[in-house]
Amino acid sequence: MDAQSTHATGPGLQLPEKSYLNETTGIRSWLLTVDHKRIALLYLVSVTFFFFVGGFFAMMIRLHLLTPSGYMLSPDTYNRMFTMHGVTMVFFFLIPSIPAILGNFLIPLMVGAKDLAFPKINLLSWYIYIIGGAFTLYSMISGGLDTGWTFYTPFSTVYSNSAVAPAVIGVFITGFSSILTGLNFLVTVHTMRAPGMTWFRLPIFVWSHYATSIVMILGTPVIAITLGLAAMERLFGLGFFNPAMGGDPILFQHLFWFYSHPAVYIMILPSMGVISELIPTFARKKIFGYEFVAAASLAIAVIGFLVWAHHMFLTGQSTYAAIAFSFLTFLVAVPSAIKTFAWVATLFGGSISFDTPMLYAFGFLGLFLVGGLTGLFLGALGLDIHIHDTYFVVAHFHYIMVGGAVMGYLGGLHFWWPKITGRLYPEWMARIAALILFVGFNLTFFPQFVLGYLGMPRRYHVYPPEFQVYNVMSTAGASILAIGYLAPMVYLTWAAFYGKVAGNNPWPATGLEWTTASPPPTENFHVTPVVTWEAYDFHNRPELELDVPRAPTLAPAHGDD
């Protein structure tokens, strides 16, 4: 354990002289690094770049939809905007964001290891991401892509006049980055835990990434081969998905969704993992029902593989199949409910503070709740007939992806920023930005639920005039949301260089990562930690200097660890 004081912040604190940030210098030491922390920062820069690319396309969409008659963009251009918004956000932002940035940075620290199991493969995964991104960017600048991020055939393989092949190849390549990240995490958690770090002492963040990694390695290869076949069809005229040649467009949909549904769990599980760190930390209380939360994460990963055809209820598939998939879809909601109630229960009897990460956690709770509950509408067959492929779906997945995944991502970035940079971000500015984001988000996406039930279909560049009011509301919200995103980019960058020095453990929090310096040395720990305490144990850790226990409000029956 480092000699520096734990959670006190103040003028006396100093940054460690040598840390992973300055131990070696020069651009080569960054581009050829095998240090998981530096690789996380490489990802941070590139993922943020793609976030803004995707955000630019979003801005185009919302500006164009201010009027019903398409004043701003031609139909083809609009179709390219929403397609490239989806491709960028899904494959180049949401899928990598938390795992490749926070997961890469934190997992070795959280398990007490010097690095991940395969550091060079980690670096390779970043380069693969960059190369895949380059192909996709090439597709965007050489005319764009207009197939929708779902690439449905035969439109994408035969009829589209856009740069389909480079985009498909780009996504194909980037998939391997995801696979390698997942492989690295799985092996690390199995074989690299420090002495005393048993499975059930792991932070839920690690469990969540373990579950995510299972999905990554089982699901991603399937989209790889699917996009490979689609590329073959596009480039060489093969016919698996083209009915004119005896192929079947529905086969493409099955293969595509077999990955793309579990993919949404790749996007949300890590964020749930972040929330499971934030709430115990800022309530200073062990997470409620630790084993249930861990098991629920795995359950989501497994059941998530069984529901893909709920995206295809109206393709003409067998009614029996639809019933089976609908039932399983409702089943997969249950573990998420378990986790949500666990997070709420953690608050009771806690000692709650409202730092920015906690505000993001609260935002997550509300928005993920709405997003998840609206999934019930879509999973119900009788309702899906009406709301499938309308703005209801768009609102639902944005609530989960933005309200859920991005909230967790930003909350995590704020929470671990002191560990990553050694410095604190400006608290009040951050709180205001979080509130702006929350307000802007709801104004953007809640009206879209209404639009969907009224019958406005997705992917429309023009719409009947009676839908305009809600569209204007949505665009207004989007402009507020944009401020909520820009602000952290600015002040977090500023704080990295000029923020107040944080010390080892400013919050304080109980994870292993907080026992080492901020920023950590390259080898993470000067001395290999030996773990003797349970996860989220605020009571048996005198070094945290927390001394005023709250009396239990419930009889301490189970769970008194």
Binding site: L186, T191, L218, I225, F258
Partner: protein
């Protein structure tokens, strides 16, 4: 590349390093199963729907060449396993011999595959504009690598198949798309495997592998066995549909 069994920085013991590497390879192979699984699924569904065309396609493949290749790959898995055993028992010279045999057998496989692919090219069976399942029936002089008996049998099958399926050419092209897709993917994996084997050969000649440390041989062995198993699936799927006595 580290030298004889040195510990990498992030590991604490050689055992942990070996266990980690091994687990990594196994998980990687699981991803490969999912990768091949996707195209096998597409193939299986299409074979069910277009049975006649797929049976026709299958019957244009050479059972002899495919069977020979299967034996070759099985033998190469054996020599690979022997290489791993040699490394584990410290018989350094044998490692090199068995690795060389494995590479040799791999190249035999490539050679046979080349012959098969070349034949398909000459018979206009490569998917694309020139694909024509009836080419040999309509141009028997251009298909002189087939014996008269084979040609006659093929034509008979063609007649039956096209009576059952008026779109035989389009659906047979689907078969060949799957054939080239699956065997091509498999061949690509074998090329990568051959590359890994050459690297192992170089290291074994330099005497790097000991009973205490032979992880690369072990792991490449796993990979090579996996590639072999994929072929064990491909061979019956592609070559053995509705085979009459040849």
């Amino acid at each position: 590349m580290h030298r004889t069994g040195e510990l990498y920085g992030q590991f604490k013991t050689l055992d942990q390093q070996k266990e980690t590497a091994s687990l990594g390879m196994w998980i990687f192979l699981v991803t490969e199963v999912m990768f091949f699984g996707g195209i096998m699924m597409a193939y299986t569904l299409n074979r069910h729907v277009y049975f006649h065309a797929f049976a026709m396609g299958s019957n244009t493949l050479s059972l002899q060449l495919g069977g020979f290749n299967t034996v070759v790959l099985l033998a190469s898995s054996f020599t690979m396993a022997m290489a791993v055993w040699s490394a584990q028992t410290g018989k350094k010279k044998l490692i090199t011999i068995f690795l060389s045999l494995t590479i040799l057998l791999g190249f035999v496989f490539f050679g046979v595959k080349y012959v098969e692919y070349a034949q398909k090219f000459h018979h206009h069976l490569i998917p694309g504009k020139n694909f024509n399942i009836f080419f040999c029936r309509d141009n028997p002089s251009k298909c002189d690598d087939l014996s008269a008996k084979d040609l006659e049998e093929e034509n008979k099958e063609l007649e039956e198949a096209s009576a059952a399926d008026p779109d035989l050419n389009a659906h047979a092209q689907l078969y060949y798309s799957a054939y080239f897709g699956m065997t091509g993917l498999h061949a690509l994996h074998m090329v990568i495997g051959a590359g890994l084997l050459f690297w192992l050969l170089r290291e074994s000649v330099a005497g790097r592998f000991t009973p205490q440390w032979n992880t690369p041989v072990d792991l490449v062995g796993l990979y090579w066995h996996f590639v072999d198993i994929v072929w064990i699936y491909l061979f019956p799927l592609l070559y053995l549909i509705d085979r009459h006595k040849n």
